[in-house]
Amino acid sequence: MRLLTKSIAAAILATTMLCGPSFAEDVFLLDGVTAREGDNPTVEAGKYKKDGPWVIGMSHFGVNANTWTVQVAHETEAAAAKDPRISKLILLDAGFDQKKQVADIEDLIAQKVDAIIVQPVTSTSADASIAKAVAAGIPVVLHTGRIESDAYTTEIQGGAEHFGKVMGDYLVEQLGGKGNIWVLRGLAGHPEDTNRYNGLKQSLEGKDITIIAEEHGDWQYDKAKKLCETLYLNNPQVDGIWSSGADMTRACVDVFKQFGAPIPPITGEGNNGFFGQWIADGFKSISAEYSPAQGAAGIRAAVALLEGKELKKHYDYNPAGWDVEKAKKYYRDDLSANVWWPSELPEEKLKELYGKN
């Protein structure tokens, strides 16, 4: 009897594994990515199942904007190259141009790709084209940017508000809930900048912390350095600095070092150059995580859909901030300042793209 029961159980298990739907939990997307709680519809198993080889299209919001966006493209390409069932990855660059993104997605539909991955330029930029793609039976995976429509198939979203709040909460804790801070923002009008800033505002609610200076450094080292020099010369009395990006953090730290002044608590993110500076200079900071490997997660989600696996519609990527000890584990002295962590690039690719020698 026991043998019979075991045989039946084994048969059911085997049948389930070979023929039945794969559940959302089976699909690994990225460390720290979880299915959103609450109302979260399921993309039913088999809906987009297709035999390989597959052609996957991607509309990148802007490959050459900075080193992080470049790495997202590399992570995506590396993940696609690793899967022999993907015959071609068509990576198109919208160059942060909303109208070009609309055109790019239309071109991908015209090429009859099997799945489309979209990093939206803005919250509305791709809505109409995404709806067209889904209507044409092409699954659409969205990541690193929300859109107002829900026409896409599945999304993986590292919340910009969460990112800003992780850094804001750290400053609130370091300052004991009171003091004066500078705020270095990214590109004016860009949703990532606005949402990260909104996260900071959430942290500051009800606290006695005053923003005495707020400037847009466009996430650039050069611009932020000029800003920090001006701010320091105007009023060096600042208790903390909230910086929306690692390059701006590095610039501001360099300004304080240039003037021989103590570095106030300042926020950063997972960039190798920033990690090196943080470890060497020992100032107080936190690194918010926003991995470029979200590009690889997008490929895995697209593959899962084409394999016919079940996915949830919404996935969140809201990891905790890193302290300097965690940064030390990732920091690589043999690589340039342009690498972002955590990365899934193979070692040989890391050395090829970012090796100092």
């Binding site: 990576l91 942060f96 109208k99 239309e106 509305t124 930029s125 606005t194």
Partner: protein
């Protein structure tokens, strides 16, 4: 074919500029793409191409009017962004749509008056206007979003008698521009004013009794209104208002005009050349996507081809 039309389409020794060369390049690109990619001649892709190229065609035509008088309008990109922001104010279309054209006309009027009455160089005047408008647009709409009137969205995405609506936008725009440039005294005066500027005798047209200041102001008003039309089209395409959608569009428009054989020094150029110039740029963007050219080298190829096209025309004739 009427003699007048033949004269307009000729290039030899005419004021129409060198537009046959870019036409040959456009045809060459189209043939190469149809051989290289299966999708190029697909009806869906050709429709994509028309819709994708239309904002640039419209803006470039407007830009051509001011370039013909030896001017330049760097504010058209901001006019486009501003137009999408105003259209996304969630108001009634019957108010917003005429409203954006009235506002655009006022912007053009300001540009023209500043240039003609205060003798400010067109680059400085329109660059200042670009910044002012960008600021206003970002106050109106700090990030993209809002609701665009349904009629605007429907007018760019549907079809009539089986013909996609963007095609009608193109026909209407070209017809209006053709009438203004070749079917009116105003058009003739633009060539006269530009010809004087190009030859170093800015008062030549004025001395012949042409009301040059009024015509210059009118050229800037027309340029702004065409930019607003492109903004309306784009708002329908992106279904929202966006403070950054027009960024650097002025440079694309100037490039398209230059490729189309219009002299940047004024006085020589053509509508058909400008349309061809804009088509070359649209073909490049669409073609590189279809040919699966890596985004890391797309901009490099675009720059190289543009340089090649412009280099094949003599600098003197280009006004560069």
């Amino acid at each position: 074919m009427k003699a007048d039309t033949l004269r307009l389409l000729s290039t030899k020794g005419s004021r129409q500029g060198m537009w046959l060369l870019p036409l040959l390049i456009a045809l060459g690109l189209a043939i190469w793409l149809s051989v290289q990619t299966q999708q190029f001649l697909n009806a869906g892709n050709l429709l994509n191409l028309v819709a994708q190229g239309m904002p640039l065609i419209i803006t470039a035509i407007g830009q051509m009017f001011v370039i013909l008088i030896g001017g330049l309008d760097l504010s058209v990109g901001s006019v486009i962004s501003f137009t999408t922001a105003v259209l996304a104010l969630d108001g009634p279309g019957i108010v917003l749509i005429p409203g954006v054209f009235v506002l655009a006309a006022l912007i053009g009027l300001c540009n023209g008056v500043i240039i003609t009455r205060f003798n400010v160089h067109p680059i400085i005047a329109t660059l200042s206007m670009q910044y002012v408008l960008l600021g206003i647009t970002r106050v109106l709409r700090p990030v993209s979003g809002g609701t665009v009137p349904d009629v605007v969205i429907a007018s760019v995405s549907g079809s009539f008698l089986g013909v996609p609506l963007p095609v009608f936008w193109g026909i209407a725009t070209i017809a209006v521009a053709w009438k203004l440039l070749y079917g009116s005294r105003f058009g003739l005066h633009l060539f006269a004013i530009g010809g004087g500027v190009a030859s170093g005798t800015e008062d030549a047209a004025h001395n012949f009794g042409i009301r040059d200041r009024r015509n210059i102001v009118l050229a800037y008003v027309i340029c702004s209104c065409f930019a607003a039309l492109a903004g309306v089209f784009l708002a329908g395409r992106i279904v929202s208002g966006d403070p950054n959608v027009g960024l650097l569009f002025e440079l694309d428009a100037i490039t398209a005009v230059a490729i189309g054989g219009t002299q940047l020094s004024g006085g020589v150029g053509s509508l058909h050349g400008t349309v061809v110039g804009a088509l070359v740029m649209a073909l490049l963007a669409n073609g590189m996507n279809l040919a699966n050219v890596s985004p890391f080298i797309q901009t490099m190829i675009k720059g190289a081809i543009l340089l090649l096209v412009v280099s094949l025309q003599s600098r003197k004739k280009m006004g560069l």
